[in-house]
């Protein structure tokens, strides 16, 4: 751990750990707050509420961490004598560890809630993993939680890679292209989705595309490991492109 990479990794973990701890706290307290609110508002007759935001939370966490950290870390680490490459590799590793910490912590919290609340409570703690792969009640065990944690980790890491890619893209693009893309992409989504859906529905090429997507979806849903493999590959791809963009970027102060 005495290489530049090792020290850079330690530095980043020190930073990320604070964010991880905050997320753990939030994930622990929010369902409890929801329950309290439900009881407070409607008493014992409150309808079932469910909280299934855990995988999404890990994903969002990864995305934001990936986006925010790239340039800031490259700057500080360069000032402290770390090459771009080592800093980048430290990013990749630290983001993976952070995603793992969050995913595991979240799974533990979910497990505790379920154990404490039992099956007849008004608050249903579930998550995407359960919904897709191992529905309750079979999916309530520790094994399922562990597998869910693994998948969440990969989701978080892949989204972190996406975040880094976006950050690197904006870093390298000139102001003109930054504005263009920032405007064009939302516009394309808003105005392009209706025509796209029509195309998918009406043309044979469109329908074939839908079939292919559906098949892909079934593949992903068939086993968590399929999804994990695909996400890992995507994450690696995003990181690879990020590195290519990063290699010749100019490290400059924020202002």
């Amino acid at each position: 751990m005495n290489t530049r990479f090792g020290r850079a990794f330690r530095y980043e973990m020190q930073n990320y750990f604070r964010a991880v701890a905050v997320l753990w706290l939030a994930m622990a307290l929010i369902p409890a707050a929801m329950m309290a609110l439900a009881y407070f508002l409607a008493g014992e007759t409150a309808a079932e509420s469910s909280f299934n935001g855990y995988s999404m939370a890990v994903g969002m966490f990864g995305l934001v961490l990936g986006m925010v950290g790239l340039r800031e870390n490259q700057r500080v680490l360069n000032q402290n004598g770390v090459s771009r490459r080592s800093a980048f590799l430290a990013d990749v590793a630290a983001l993976a560890v952070a995603a793992l910490l969050v995913a595991v912590g979240v799974s533990v919290i979910m497990g505790i809630y379920r154990a404490v609340l039992g099956s007849g409570s008004h608050l249903l703690i579930t998550d995407l993993y359960q919904l897709i792969y191992e529905p309750a009640p079979a999916g309530n065990g520790v094994g399922a939680l562990a597998r869910g944690a693994v998948l969440s980790t990969v989701v978080g890491w892949m989204l972190a890679a996406l975040g880094q890619f976006c950050s690197a893209l904006y870093w390298r693009l000139s102001k003109f292209w930054t504005i263009l893309i920032s405007v064009a992409v939302p516009l394309a989504l808003i105005f392009g989705s209706a025509p796209l859906l029509t195309w998918l529905d009406t043309t044979s090429a469109g329908r074939a595309a839908v079939e292919a997507l559906a098949a892909f979806g079934r593949f992903l849903a068939a086993s968590p490991w399929n999804a994990a493999a695909v996400l890992l590959a995507m994450g690696a791809a995003f990181f690879a492109v990020t590195w290519l963009l990063l290699r010749r970027a100019m490290i400059r102060p924020a202002k």
């Binding site: 290489t3 530049r4 990479f5 020290r7 330690r10 530095y11 800031e72 700057r75 500080v76 360069n78 000032q79 402290n80 004598g81 770390v82 090459s83 771009r84 490459r85 080592s86 010749r248 100019m250 490290i251 400059r252 102060p253 924020a254 202002k255």
Partner: protein
């Protein structure tokens, strides 16, 4: 063991920031990298520290390519701007330096902070220009790397703090010699400090010589214009100025021979030499 620049070129758009720059910074000397704003000093240092890539040529630090871990861990740049995260406190920056630079002297750094009255608990981005410079100076003087680079280190510093900085720099260098490169446009202040002078103008190296060699070989001779012209004919004159009938020429030469009556001679200080050199180049 040295920092070596070989035929470095760098272009920004249609501006040639650096043109065929070859330089060596040897170990254990204090170098002055002198030039006006925009001459290319910062670009050179940014390339050295891996913050930007050169278009052509190579830069190595003790043989390792600039920007690599081996190269970067051997140097520290006290730059013009802050690269630390906005919300980081000074204290945390010291912690970080301690993490990355094994020879970082924490006690010395805190002592310096006290001397400059730099508050350790303040956020870096809330420091004034002067204290931002002081913050970076404190780090630079405490890392104890073989090469320390100062890019306009005294920006915003009042006279007392500037004096303190130069004294600390000299003491540090005297007690534990390393290579220091001071890049500045405040020439008079560093003239006596730098053992070796590099003058850069519009991306090209104009002079690269021991300071003593430059200043010992330059003289200002003045007197009645006619006399001066007569004496200066055939000599290496690099600047001249006229005030009424009194003419002064700057010549390169030994400066030891006797002058004809009516002519006076004095040494040319580094700043004056620099200014004259720039004027001569401007007229080309």
């Amino acid at each position: 063991m040295a920092i070596e620049f070989q035929h470095i070129t760098k272009t920004f758009g249609d501006t040639r920031a650096l043109e065929d720059v070859s330089l060596t910074f040897e170990e254990g000397k204090i170098y002055g990298l002198l030039g006006n704003n925009g001459a290319g000093k910062s670009t050179l240092l940014n390339i050295l520290t891996g913050r930007m890539c050169q278009d052509g040529g190579t830069v190595t630090v003790d043989g390792a390519p600039a920007g690599s871990d081996a190269a970067l861990s051997r140097l520290f740049l006290v730059g013009e701007k802050n690269l630390y995260p906005d919300d980081m406190k000074v204290k945390r920056a010291l912690d970080t330096a301690e993490l990355f630079y094994p020879d970082f002297d924490r006690a010395y750094a805190e002592n310096l902070a006290k001397q400059f009255e730099l508050p350790l608990n303040k956020k870096i981005n809330s420091l004034s220009t002067g204290y931002g410079s002081i913050f970076r100076i404190v780090l630079g003087l405490s890392v104890n790397t073989p090469y320390v680079l100062f890019d306009e280190p005294v920006l915003g510093l009042d006279a007392q703090h500037r004096d303190l900085f130069y004294k600390l720099l000299v003491r540090k260098y005297a007690e534990s010699p390393c290579t220091m490169v001071i890049s500045t446009h405040l020439i008079a202040e560093v003239a006596d400090l730098i053992e070796h002078t590099v003058i850069i103008r519009k991306g090209r190296i104009l002079q690269d010589a021991p300071t003593e060699a430059l200043t010992a070989a330059c003289w200002a001779v003045s007197g009645p214009a006619g006399l001066v012209d007569g004496w200066a004919a055939g000599r290496d004159v690099f600047a001249s100025s006229v005030l009424g009938g009194l003419k002064t020429v700057c010549v390169r030469g030994e400066g030891t021979e006797d002058l004809p009556a009516g002519l006076e001679r004095r040494r040319v200080g580094l700043q004056e030499y620099f200014i004259s050199l720039m004027e001569e180049e401007d007229q080309r």
